[in-house]
């Protein structure tokens, strides 16, 4: 790892101020992505600003039709939360499938979204549920947030403070893990909003990161049942291909995981 300066921020404002003082600062939340990348010398921030101990950045709140998860809340805490399990069980279930127990103890939702790994799990839920990402500056809808591989709408020094999920009528997530890394080789999140809209997303599959899956949305709008996908075909073009899965295999997984997600959603 290259040299760096470590700062622990006491508040969101403090974090933003400290960020501004460094030549090439990075926020550090759970560190489960940033530190491995720094260890491999693929990133070399001059300063890392630890946001994980800021009180206003941690916690889960359910009120009315919304589940709000603050950005530095760990995957473990989301998975364990009774409130999340009750309001959006698919979201708690998704969090329980991220990485391994040690990663879940430290990794956070804010870090995962800011990083926008094309094989990460949370982006699938955020996009399918039509969540809103709140930062120190503004609110960004999920549709506007994800901009392709490892790219988001966040500006330099902008900090995610919380994510607000509208509670859906039904939702389900099914993940086929990459056998080596255990990230999503393909994960599909299906959601039916309380107003009857259907949104379906896939992660791990596309060359441009998390994506909506139109053909499955159409089929489920007509008939919310796993069998409704039997006749759906997913095109392999534009999908990722690597040693763990060819594009046509991933296309198949989008459909099969979609069916399993619907079954899980009930």
């Amino acid at each position: 790892m290259y040299e760096t300066n470590y700062h622990r921020a006491s508040s969101i404002d403090d974090a933003v101020a400290q960020f501004g003082r460094g030549a090439e600062s990075k926020f550090l939340s759970g560190g489960q992505t940033l530190l491995p990348v720094m260890k491999q010398r693929l990133a070399a921030p001059s300063d890392v600003i630890d946001v994980a101990k800021i009180k206003d950045m941690v916690g889960i709140d359910v009120s009315g039709d919304t589940v709000t998860i603050k950005a530095a809340t760990t995957h473990y805490d989301v998975a364990q939360s009774d409130a999340v399990q009750k309001a959006i069980p698919a979201l708690a279930n998704l969090a329980s499938m991220i990485g391994d127990p040690a990663v879940r103890y430290r990794g956070t939702i804010g870090g995962s979204l800011a990083n926008n790994d094309p094989a990460a799990d949370y982006p699938a839920a955020v996009l399918a549920l039509g969540a809103t990402i709140k930062t120190n500056k503004r609110s960004i809808t999920a549709d506007d947030f994800f901009k392709g591989l490892f790219t988001t709408a966040l500006e330099d020094g902008e900090i995610i403070t919380q994510v607000a999920f509208p509670i859906p009528a039904k939702a389900g997530y099914a993940k086929f893990p990459n056998p080596a890394s255990r990230f999503a080789l393909t994960g599909v999140f299906v959601a039916k909003t309380k107003s009857g809209d259907v949104r379906v997303t896939a992660t791990g599959a596309s060359q441009s990161g998390v994506m909506r899956v139109g053909p499955i949305e159409q089929a489920l709008k007509a008939n919310w049942a796993a069998s409704a996908l039997d006749s759906v075909t997913i095109a392999a073009s534009g999908l990722l291909a690597d040693i763990h899965g060819s594009a046509d295999y991933r296309a198949n997984l989008v459909k099969v995981m979609g069916q399993r997600a619907v079954t899980a959603a009930g």
Binding site: F176, P179, A180, I243, H244, Y249, Q259
Partner: protein, 548 residues
Amino acid sequence: MLSAFYNIAPEHKLRVIAPDVGGGFGSKIYIYPEEMVALWASKKVNRPVKWTGDRSEAFLTDAHGRDHVSKAEIAFDKDNKILGLRVKTHANFGAYMSLFSSAVPTYLYATLLSGQYVIPAIYAEVIGVYTNTTPVDAYRGAGRPEASYLLERMMETAARQLKVDPTELRKKNFINQFPYQTPVIMAYDVGDFHASIDAAMKAIDYAGFPARKAKAKASGKLRGIGVSCYIEACGIAPSKAVGSLGAGVGLWESAEIRVNPVGTIEVLTGSHSHGQGHETTFCQIIAERLGVPISQVSIVHGDTDKVQFGMGTYGSRSIAVGGAAIVKAMEKVEAKAKKIAAHALEASESDIVIENGEFKVTGTDKAIALPMVALAAYTAHNLPDGMEPGLKETAFYDPTNFTFPAGAYICELEVDPGTGKTTFVDFVAADDFGRLINPMIVEGQVHGGLAQGIGQALLEGAVYDDTGQLVTASFMDYTMPRADDLPSFQLSHTTTLCPGNPLGVKGCGEAGAIGASAAVINAITDAIGNNKLEMPATPDRVWHAIHG
């Protein structure tokens, strides 16, 4: 090696200390350039030099294993007896010659192509090729897994084509009489292949499989069963024979037993332990012979200033060769100790027996405890005339033949047709390792070996891209078996004692890795009804094999 072949420093000026080094499995046998560079740098700057390799570097530079492309044909007569086997193999050496690179696909591979079967004629042609990959060398099993995999895939394929039960076809062709001379050098000393396969079939309820398959089908899963009957050769020997084949060293092992003046015992062995439990098994051999508590015995290894010379741990040789050397040294120690005891007890040497840590005169209650014998040896106040003081002996053991562990593995699994993912239902192993000194340690070795064989079949593989970059350069892409990839194993043992060494042991370190892969691939191809499948059988590959 560093002295004789690399000219680093003369032996008396060189000390290598390698205590707990983590598991080895072959990859730590070789001398790597990094070690040379560290030594060179240390001489250059006249200071200690520390070098740490990280995991990604290890993936890039540690020797890889098992890279064969083979074409095989097998012929049967009308009674389904094998007539002959013809094999042509291209073996990848990688970019540079490593220590055993050329021996693995030749002496350790072609010589085992007879497997457990009577095969009157075997033709094997091996072409070693240099490529631009990391050197390929011995990895747990070294050549024998490749041979076993090829033959057991052939037997399964033949059974399917001949429409006979794969276990029946194997039984029909088993070698039943020992010693047995194969057409490919090996002379098998002893074995009972029927006993192993019968034990494995019973353990997995082979007869009940069709019903289980039908039940799985009803719930949308493809169930398969696969058999693998392996034989391997351990304790490569004798030195004269390997010398005639061009080896640069002898393949014996040394042991030194020091009985200290207080009666505690130190065993210096050239066979290094890095997880195989020599500290337990070797001590147990001695403790049992003398009838002393195991806590009185300790093992010294992994330091060239303490252990003068040894050939190391590889090829499942530690107990069969290293253990035998210990027995030889013990025999000398006991002979001398008996003389001392007889002298002290004023009895005839031939009347002395060793029991519960004492030297007793048979038929009397006269006895002297080991510590008193040891003390007598070192005080030398009252030794038989002409006897040297001290109680310490060395032995070198050079075996007369290989040992031949063998066994039968059966694997039952399910494939999810939607994703191509394989899930184990059951995995049984019935091995014949000769005498088991410590069954718990033996089983641990089998578990680990099976996991490596299964890993090879399902998950692991070094992949390079078109530009020669190693794609599997970290655990992000190299699929290490995890706990949830593997089943618990059902093990059992059948026993034919090895006549070739004083312990009757055969060796167990590599068996699992040798036999498991074929059982897994035979089971998957049985499940999906398509015999064309490469290792590792990733979900992607299996799914394509199902759906075309």
